[in-house]
């Protein structure tokens, strides 16, 4: 059986690693900070310690590492999540297979290309060539990678990569049993290498943190024992055993790091076996891992706290004991995958261990929620928590331990997962997290995938160019939010507008706007007309307002208003003429004359604004005569107006006393004319034509002729013309006035 062989191999490696550890421990004490870094990476949990120590010691190094770690962690987490969700499992499986193959032969670069989107993040990471090489070597079962790691920080990074890859492999293995075997072999190899590194680092770290190293060792021993137990339990399924055995071996060899893997494997196996016993065993390892992580964080935070942490570790072990039942619950609810993912995440995000405290609180809730959703939600919360927790490392660690004890291990695991994500996100940006959360709340379903994608993007950005990537994603998020807000605002205004527009039942936005535009136009016209009328009636206002209103549009407005087209016309004409005389008696005359006009017009209710308006405007702009002709046609009353325009023009051009007289008479008869509207209209049209022709071609001398013609025509015609003429005359000159009186007289 390949599995058994692998198992044996792993055992052999583990043994060798153990030996190395024992031997190296002494030597390692001499190693500098770099060693510390390695330790962090290898252990997974240790990673946290390493980062903290690094951060304190060398900021630059820390940054680089931190970037790399987050990204890896995020990837791992994503993968874990994917495992949790069935849909993602397939992808992951594929990824796993790819990974397995890649480590064997393909270099790191090729790996990136071949790998799926999830893998991409790795590629994106700014890993040095040397790192890549190491990475490849790490992927390979051989330990060569380990040696490289010991050499430099880059090596550390490679080890981290290896770890992540191992984690991925493990996960994959969990999902796909067949693939698992192969992956396990690779994972074991990688683990072995990592273990070796960890061993080396551990001894080195020991000098700096004696207490921590001791603790780790103790934990390791305990882990080994546990692993062995787990293996025994796992025997139920050969496959599971093989995996567990490998993991256990690795764990024993590597110590903290292996323990993490072991936990994952154990969980996987436990899932497969569905045996409570396995869970209990697994849970123990997990608890140990957690405890280790906590210890690591404590070590980084403060040496003094290490003692307390040790005690906390003890507690953690106790918690792990409790886990079995809890874990079973979790498994039943969300499935083992979640647990496994959670375990993996802790490994990936060693630094976040501190964060675990807060996340742990959030996790319970998340667990209750669907596994996918919980995962998605958790990251956000975790990120927030992480940010906060990062600030309070020491405290959080101490708190975390109690929390872990209180909360079930599954919860802790979830918290760790969250913390991992949170760490990544935290590193990217807090605002990012907020945005993500927002989206999540809005679209929880779609988000799970989106979040993953985003997280990947964030991871990519995080490594080195985090700035641009995060900015891009952030910009996209902001855009979405702002877009939504904008639409809401527009809809709100639309509703307000609808309320303002009478008889607007349109639901459609476009028709709504159409309606609004039309209504605005009519309103504007109405206001203009009304102001015209007001100005007209207001003696003092007359001149200025009149001048203003002279414009054709105003005239037009009047007609719709029904206030007094004739009046407006007359006024406009008068002012336009600039006749000083108008002012003298104008008001009276126009007024008088206008009424008749109105009478005529009103019968046919106020002219619908537009036609009349336009006509008027046109007529005004052009010479009155011409426009008048066109306008009158459509509207029965319009004719009257146009007629007035025509006459006005005539009067303006050359007022005839006779003409004036005629108008006066007409005015008097106007009331009658109103009753005769239909006739008037016809007549008026004819009149207009005549008037227009006269205005166009005829001069003042011709006017008389036109007048003569009018006289012969029916009274109604005369009235129409007269009214127009009257308006003009009144406005234009005192002569008109004189004539008017004379007529009545």
């Amino acid at each position: 059986m390949p599995l058994s062989e692998l198992y044996r191999m792993a055992k052999g490696k583990l043994e060798s690693t153990r030996e190395k550890n024992t031997t190296c421990s002494n030597d390692l004490s001499f190693l500098p900070e770099n060693d510390l870094f390695e330790l962090v990476w290898e252990n997974g949990q240790i990673l946290k310690q390493g980062q903290s120590s690094r951060a304190r010691k060398s900021p630059t190094r820390n940054n680089f590492q931190s970037h790399c770690l987050p990204s890896y962690a995020s990837k791992i987490r994503d993968k874990d999540i994917g495992n949790g969700s069935n849909s993602k499992v397939g992808k992951f499986g594929g990824m796993m297979s790819v990974l397995n193959e890649i480590p064997m032969s393909v270099p790191s670069d090729e790996m990136d290309l071949s790998q799926d989107d999830d893998m991409m993040p790795w590629l994106n990471y700014p890993i040095d060539d040397s790192l890549q090489h190491e990475y490849c070597s790490e992927f390979l079962p051989e330990l060569s990678g380990v040696t490289v790691n010991e050499l430099s920080n880059q090596n550390n990074l490679a080890s981290i990569d290896k770890r992540s890859s191992c984690n991925l492999v493990y996960k994959d293995c969990h999902t796909n049993s067949v693939n698992d075997v192969v992956s396990l072999g690779q994972g074991n190899a990688s683990k072995v290498s990592s273990v070796g590194v960890s061993d080396a680092t551990r001894p080195r770290t020991t000098p700096l943190y004696p207490s921590s190293s001791q603790q780790c060792q103790t934990s390791f021993s305990s882990l080994r024992s546990r692993v062995t137990e787990g293996a025994g339990n796992n025997t139920s399924s050969v496959m599971h055993r093989a995996v567990c055995g490998d993991s256990t071996q690795v764990a024993s060899a590597a110590g903290g790091f292996p323990t993490i893997k072991m936990q994952k494997k154990d969980q996987m196996s436990s899932n497969n076996n569905s045996n409570l016993m396995n869970f209990s065993h697994f849970s123990r390892p997990a608890a140990l891992v957690k405890a280790n992580l906590q210890n690591m964080g404590l070590m980084a935070g403060s040496d003094l706290s290490s003692m307390e942490r040790i005690t906390s570790k003890d507690k953690g072990s106790a918690a792990s004991i409790k886990h079995p039942p809890e874990s079973t619950h979790i498994n039943s609810i969300s499935g083992l995958q979640k647990e496994s993912s959670s375990h993996c995440q802790p490994l990936a995000a060693p630094a976040p261990s501190k964060v675990d405290l807060k996340p742990s609180e959030d996790k319970p809730v998340e667990e209750t929620v669907a596994s996918k959703q919980s995962e998605a939600v958790c990251p956000d919360e975790a990120s927030r928590n992480d940010n906060i927790s990062n600030q309070v490392f020491g405290e959080s660690v101490t708190k975390g331990l109690p929390d872990g004890e209180k909360t079930t291990e599954p919860v802790v695991a979830s918290s760790s997962v969250c913390s991992g994500n949170s760490v990544e996100r935290a590193s990217d940006d807090p605002t990012h997290n907020l945005k993500r959360k927002f989206r999540d709340t809005e679209e929880s379903e779609c988000h799970s995938e989106d979040i993953e994608e985003e997280s990947i993007g964030a991871k990519k950005a995080a490594p080195g160019r985090a700035g641009t990537g995060s900015k891009r994603s952030r910009a996209a998020e902001v855009h979405n939010l702002s877009e939504r807000r904008r639409r809401d605002r527009i809809n709100e205004k639309m509703r307000a507008l609808q309320e303002l527009i009478p008889n607007c039942n349109k639901v459609d936005k476009a028709s709504m706007l159409d309606e609004a535009i039309e209504y605005l136009k009519t309103l504007q016209l109405q206001v203009q007309i009304m102001s015209m009328g007001a100005g007209f009636y207001m003696p003092p206002m007359m001149l200025p307002t009149g001048m203003q209103h002279m414009s054709a549009p105003h005239m037009a407005h009047f007609s719709p208003m029904g206030v007094g087209m004739g009046m407006g016309m007359g006024m406009g004409m008068g002012y336009g003429m600039g006749m000083p005389d108008m002012n003298v008696g104008p008001s009276g005359y126009p007024m008088i004359q206008v009424p008749p006009m109105h009478g005529a017009q009103f019968p046919g209710p106020p002219i619908s604004g537009h036609a009349a308006m336009h006509g008027m405007a046109g007529s005004n702009l052009q010479m009155f005569g011409l426009p008048g002709q066109g306008l009158p046609m459509p509207m029965p009353r319009a004719p009257l107006i146009p007629l007035s325009g025509g006459p006005v023009m005539k009067s303006a051009t050359g007022l005839n006393a006779r003409g004036v007289v005629g108008p006066v008479e007409n005015v008097d008869s106007a009331p009658a004319s109103s009753s005769k509207d239909p006739m008037q209209n016809v007549n008026s049209q004819a009149m207009q034509i005549t008037g227009a022709s006269s205005s166009m071609t005829q001069t003042s001398s011709q006017c008389p002729a036109t007048n003569a013609r009018f006289e012969p025509s029916s009274l109604a015609q005369n009235n129409g013309q007269v009214s127009d003429v009257v308006g003009n005359t009144a406005v234009n000159s005192a002569n008109g006035n004189d004539l008017v009186p004379s007529k009545p007289a």
Binding site: D450, L497, A510, V527, A534, M538, I592
Partner: protein, 91 residues
């Protein structure tokens, strides 16, 4: 992926009407003296709609004011025309 696609599809479907609405909004903007002269790209649709609402309210107020004034004027004028107009308005 599918969700994104559907989202883009939706946006694509609504883009047509978006164009129409943008057109109408710009037309509307031309009717608003307050923002008529502003550069169109600086005025958001929501802003235009808000201004439209304000403008319509203003016009309503103006119309009410003017009608009141006109009625007052007509009422205060003793001339025959005023009487006629009044009668006309009363209709």
């Amino acid at each position: 992926m599918s969700s994104r696609r559907s989202r883009s599809r939706q946006s694509g479907g609504s883009r047509i009407t978006d164009d129409q609405i943008n057109d109408l909004v710009s037309k509307l903007q031309q009717l608003l003296p307050e923002i008529r002269d502003r550069r169109s790209d600086k005025v958001s649709a929501a802003n235009v709609l808000q201004e439209t609402c304000n403008y319509i309210r203003n016009l309503h107020r103006e119309v009410d004011d003017l009608s009141e004034r006109l009625s007052e004027l007509l009422a205060t004028t003793d001339t025959a025309q005023a009487a006629i107009i009044r009668s006309l308005l009363m209709q």
